[in-house]
Amino acid sequence: MYAWSLTRIQPSGLTTAVVRATNVISVTAVIATEALSMRFPRVTALDRLTLDIGPGVTGLVGSNGAGKSTLIKILLGLSPATEGRAAVLGLDVATSGAAIRERVGYMPEHDCLPPDVSATEFVVHMARMSGLPPTAARERTADTLRHVGLYEERYRPIGGYSTGMKQRVKLAQALVHDPQLVLLDEPTNGLDPVGRDEMLGLIRRIHTDFGISVLVTSHLLGELERTCDHVVVIDGGTLLRSSSTSDFTETTATLAVEVTDSDTHPDGTGALRKVLTDAGVTLIGHDGIDTEGLPGAGHILLIEATGEETYDVVRDSVAGLGLGLVRMEQRRHQIAEVFLTEQGAAQAAVPAAAATAGAVQQKGSGRDEH
């Protein structure tokens, strides 16, 4: 655990990671901003924000008021920035607003659908607003609504739809003109866990299957790690962090192991931990215990899998102790852990312990939703 978290805490390590990612991306930037600032009389919404976002699914994370919506408005060419420059798909937002909006789709955070028309009628209308000829608008609407998972119900008035279905219509109107980039503002807001997973799956497919780049905002880090290739965190209008999710979620894998207790080993988990530690396996979390408050909490060991041999070590250790193996599964590191680790380090009192506790807590709250 220490080896892992220390490389994350070291500022120099972070800087190189960001720099590397930026260099790779700037070649084919979908969104690029340079010292972008937006100042209102009393508030600074964006403060010299410099970003390079490449193709793929990018998560834009920030708390309310962090400047996410302001950034989207500027990117759509709808409000001029106080200073700095921004380009979307290589087009300057200050001069080519209309050209950008023709190639970009936007899904607002709030409800935006009239209840008395059907999804088909509404999306056809929006397609025509994007410049699609009538026939093309109808064909693309039928296609797009199917892609987002609306079938027979698309002929019914939107007023009778569930929140999940409304979100799909909102997504469909953003995709109907086959944009090169979609900006999704909090698309999972108000959805239940199943709806949330489906929406995240859809967002992933927008890039993998449709070839459309995605900028998705959220205030939940946990859901972005499964969906995004890249995560940008802004706070108070400044860039907190920009990095590729693969950078820190795929370098090492976490294994969750749960075992039964036996007469010989009344505390099976403890016995296994001892054996594994002796075998030189690195434990993650507080002594390797996953204290999530879920069923089985305190009985799940989180260990770092460095390769195939770790799986063998676990299997042999469990067999050697004569315990039953309830589960052994791979988990990706959650982005939340990484950010919380950094914050923990910044707070500095007891970095490792604080960070770990924070990470575990965050994971717990993140996973409660599922």
Partner: protein, 302 residues
């Protein structure tokens, strides 16, 4: 609860939808086309076309009343022995049926603009190539066109009826033309005022009430004060008072320039000189409405 099961569920869900994505390489027709589309959608919507059956009732009913009254007047005119012209002037028709026109604009102006505000669809428009001015122009033009159809169609019925009755062709055509100009002016003026009132509130009910109030209160006040002025012998004031309500403005303009008979007390509308003032006020109101709408939507934005 593991990542694997979640990922697997995601794959299953997507496999159901996966029918292959087709990208779009066809033409993108841009702002002018989008503006036209918004215009036709709003115009159709004004008569409830492309909307629920419920929203067709009122506009179709009002349109029916306008047409039916015209048809009855035609029948009466034809049935009358040795009639040489219609029993009603083309220019008077809209004035007589102003209540119906008022109801129509009160119901349909909020439909045209409050809906987008209330359901917050406006950002969806402005995240597309059209600009604020395109939106306002399309909505304004569509509402004015809807009113023109509502007020022009009965005039057409009167005209066709008069031709069937073999009234004098030249006279009828001239009067019909004057009538069309008059209702065109009325349509633009009412559309502008109605949209401004409706756009000020996202609540449809308030919009309806505001439009009705604007039309009826001003008309009631103006005609009352005009009547008092007439009774007290200050005839000169009557023609100036007409400037303060939409329908009397139209009445004044058409009396001055379009050969109409004024509905003012005493039947004396403004002459050409005062008529110019009327026309200027009408044009200023139209331009002002456009400016207010533009300002309003600039503020709404995203």
């Amino acid at each position: 609860m593991s990542t694997e099961t979640k990922a697997a569920a995601g794959r299953d869900a997507s496999r159901i939808h996966n029918i292959g994505y087709r990208s779009y390489d066809g033409p993108r027709l841009g702002r002018a086309y989008a503006r036209r589309s918004l215009f036709s959608q709003t115009l159709r919507g004004s008569f409830g076309l492309g909307r629920s059956a419920k929203s067709k009732v009122l506009p179709m009913l009002l349109f029916g009343v306008m047409a039916l009254v015209a048809a009855i007047l035609v029948a009466v005119s034809i049935a009358a022995p040795d009639a040489t012209k219609l029993v009603v002037k083309y220019t008077s028709y809209a004035i007589y049926l102003q209540a119906v026109i008022g109801l129509f604009i009160a119901a349909q102006a909020p439909q045209a603009v409050s809906r987008d505000l209330r359901f917050k669809s406006v950002p969806l428009y402005f995240s597309r190539p059209i600009e604020h001015a395109d939106y306002v122009v399309a909505k304004f033009a569509a509402t004015a066109s809807a009113l023109f159809i509502l007020t022009g169609a009965p005039l057409l019925i009167l005209y066709v009826g008069s031709l069937l009755a073999k009234f004098d062709f030249a006279d009828q055509t001239k009067w019909f033309g004057q009538g069309l100009v008059s209702v065109a002016l009325l349509s633009v003026l009412f559309a502008g005022l109605g949209l401004v009132m409706a756009a000020l509130t996202p609540r449809r009910g308030f919009g309806v009430a505001a439009v009705i109030a604007l039309l009826t209160i001003t008309y009631g006040a103006v005609s009352t004060v005009q009547a008092i002025a007439w009774e007290t012998g200050s005839e000169g004031a009557v023609q100036w008072l007409g400037l303060f309500s939409p329908i009397t403005l139209i009445d004044g303009v058409q009396t001055a320039f379009l050969g109409a008979t004024s509905a003012f007390p005493g039947g004396e509308g403004p002459g050409a000189g005062v008529g110019v003032v009327y026309l200027l006020v009408v044009l200023a109101l139209v331009a002002g409405s456009y400016a207010v709408l533009l300002r309003r939507y600039r503020r709404v934005g995203l």
